[in-house]
């Protein structure tokens, strides 16, 4: 009796689900349904990153970089397997959320025209998405996801352009010891995978060099009031303050520190290396340090020309743009080498490209897909702008 009524309610529920699915999907028909054969073969490169949310600038910049690359490729007129192809970017939004990242990955993999992926832009999103890409055997290159665990997942077709976080933490550590000559430090992170990854590495490195880590404090990434925390830190009298987290909280921490008269050097990671850091913090940010992955753009020979062309088309150039551009170009290289529109062949072809000289310098890949030629730079706020130090 009950069984039947239970099944009875199931019927409308299933129908509901099915009809809703059809309704919603009809507003977002995947390109696979496009009727008729296109005149030119379209080769899609999927990009995935936060297009909305508080990291929207990162994802949008990355996608624009990829689009710029594709524009150039199309201008060149590439042929694959004897046919002329047109490249296109399929940009997806993962909002830096691992759950959305898996959904986005699934979508991209379902789309049979997508040959490779440039993304994601956040390590926490790249890992779960990577599992789906790995299963599908599709090539994926991240321009900037920098957590070391990504390459430890055993993905078969994963590559990075930027190097990993431990390298920038190590640079900050070396700078702390050698240039700032600190004897004690206080380390604060925002309890995110990124922030804590940085501070773990930094603490280990400075301790090895004999510097004492007086305290490892944490904030939640939604915090804005740091009075009591700074008081507690100030009481320990550290020489240097290292922060692993985003620029907005870094600015607030610095403000509070200055308010309470704590004027020690302040070092952050690449998330602090943002022009908005000075905008939010104001003058008190003068003299603060931040590390950034990759070589300083002034030192890259091809950068100036690239930046000028990009700015003409898209406006401001963001930090990740040249990396996304290079990643897309590497994908194009693999496609050209494979000379076929087959995901597996393209992924295999990439294995035969051991290094690449791009706008961002030379990348040499090791067996995990990491850049075994890493470069990190350190900057300081001078006159309200980031200036290269070393």
């Amino acid at each position: 009796m009950r069984m039947r009524s239970t099944l009875g309610f199931l019927a409308p529920t299933i129908l509901c689900i099915a009809s809703l699915v059809v309704f919603c999907a009809s507003e977002r028909t995947p390109s696979a349904l496009a009727a008729g054969a296109p005149a030119e073969t379209v080769v899609k490169i999927g990009t995935a990153g936060p297009l909305t949310g508080n990291q929207a600038k990162l994802g949008t910049d990355a996608r624009n970089g990829a689009m710029f690359a594709v524009d150039e490729l199309n201008a060149q007129g590439i042929t694959v397997g004897g046919k002329k192809v047109k490249f296109a970017i399929q940009g997806e939004d993962d909002q830096a959320d691992p759950k959305l990242a898996t959904a986005v990955a699934q979508r991209l993999v379902d789309d049979k025209q997508v040959m490779a992926i440039v993304g994601h832009n956040n390590s926490s999103a790249t890992i779960p998405a990577g599992k789906i890409y790995d299963e599908a055997g599709i090539l994926f290159i991240t321009p900037n996801a920098s957590n070391p665990t990504v390459s430890q997942q055993g993905f078969k077709n994963f590559y990075r352009i930027m190097c990993t976080d431990p390298i920038q933490a190590a640079k900050a550590a070396t700078f702390t010891v050698e240039k700032l000559k600190a004897k004690t430090v206080v380390v604060v992170d925002d309890k995110t995978q990124y922030g804590q990854g940085l501070t773990d590495m930094y603490s280990k490195q400075v301790e090895k060099a004999g510097v004492k880590v007086l305290a490892r404090e944490h904030i939640s990434d939604k915090d804005s009031e740091f009075g009591a925390l700074i008081t507690a830190i100030k009481a320990k009298r550290p020489d240097v303050f290292y922060f692993g987290g985003v620029y907005s909280q870094a600015a607030l921490l610095k403000k509070e520190a200055i308010k309470q008269g704590m004027k020690i050097p302040f070092i952050g990671g690449d998330s602090v290396f943002e022009p908005d850091y000075m905008k939010l913090g104001g003058d008190i940010t003068e003299g603060d340090y931040a590390t950034a992955l990759g070589m300083d753009t002034e030192k890259l020979p091809k950068y100036a020309g690239f930046a000028a062309k990009f700015k003409a088309k898209y406006g401001e150039i963001g930090y990740v743009v040249p990396y996304a551009y290079d990643a897309t170009m590497v994908v194009a290289e693999a496609i050209k080498k494979a000379n076929a529109l087959d995901r597996k062949k393209i992924a295999a072809a990439k294995k035969n490209i051991p290094s690449y000289e791009g706008i961002t310098g030379k990348v040499v890949w090791d067996q995990y897909g990491d850049n075994s030629n890493p470069v990190v730079s350190l900057y300081q706020v001078k006159n309200g702008k980031w200036a290269f130090v070393e």
Binding site: H218, D223, A228, T231, A251, L252, G282
Partner: protein, 311 residues
Amino acid sequence: MIGQQLVNGLVLGCIYAMLALGFSMVFGILRLINFAHGEVFMIGAMVSITVLNLLLAKTGQPVSLLVAGGLLLVTTVAAGLSCGVLGIALERVAYRPLRRAPVLAPLISAIAASIFLQNVAMLVWGRQYIAFPSILPSGGIQIGEAAISWPGVLIVVVSPMLMVALNQFMKRTTIGKSMRATAEDLEVAAYMGIDTDRVIVAAFFVGSVLAGVAGTLVSLYIGATNYFIGFFAIMKAFAAAVLGGVGNLTGAVLGGLLLGLIESFAIGFLPDLTWGFMGTQYKDIFAFIVLVVFLIFRPSGLLGEQASERA
């Protein structure tokens, strides 16, 4: 360090006290947890920054303390009034239709209103932190080893003034007395000829103005604000109110001050007390823990007010 933490705690406590006051005013009369109170606070913070930026665009960076003070005053009044109006709208749209409905309904409505406000704010002002223009001079007062910045001084001076003003308002004005009467017993007050609807609207207005002022002061103090501060604000307001005694206005103030002090000292000494097991990232759940502990063991708070239906 103790002195400095004391100062930090006091400043924070004043803010919590203002929040708890506004919250308790509504709760005392309607026995309703105004979930959206925290979001009103957040909107006060946002509006104050927007208004101040608008003013600064007209006048330029203030040259004297007097001008800065004047700008701040205008900003605070503007933020306070906007929140007051928002509070009235809230009452009208989300709470009045559900007056006297069983508790589940207005609570759901309150949550819905809170989420709505938070997300609208996110759409309007974006997800990033927004900086409060710095128009007060840096530096402040030094009391022994403790430093208190000028915004902090402002908070510690203005909050008691507001609370005293509120106290006088409740004691001497007709509407204030009506509010107290309605808080004691809504039905009897209605029998006595008090226009309870008007009283309720007034309570929402005053409470929301307080929240708006608190929001302005907090963003001045911290130097920035964000669209999600409302959630923590309501939890702390409620925790402070429960701590001091829900519905009891003096209790709200006491609870707020105590909560601020507890939080500050916890951050300072918690890692040492728990041998590093609990670090400073647990700061926010202090309010939650206080809430849970008090509701379980002493629901009437420190100064008394029944919180459970039946034991």
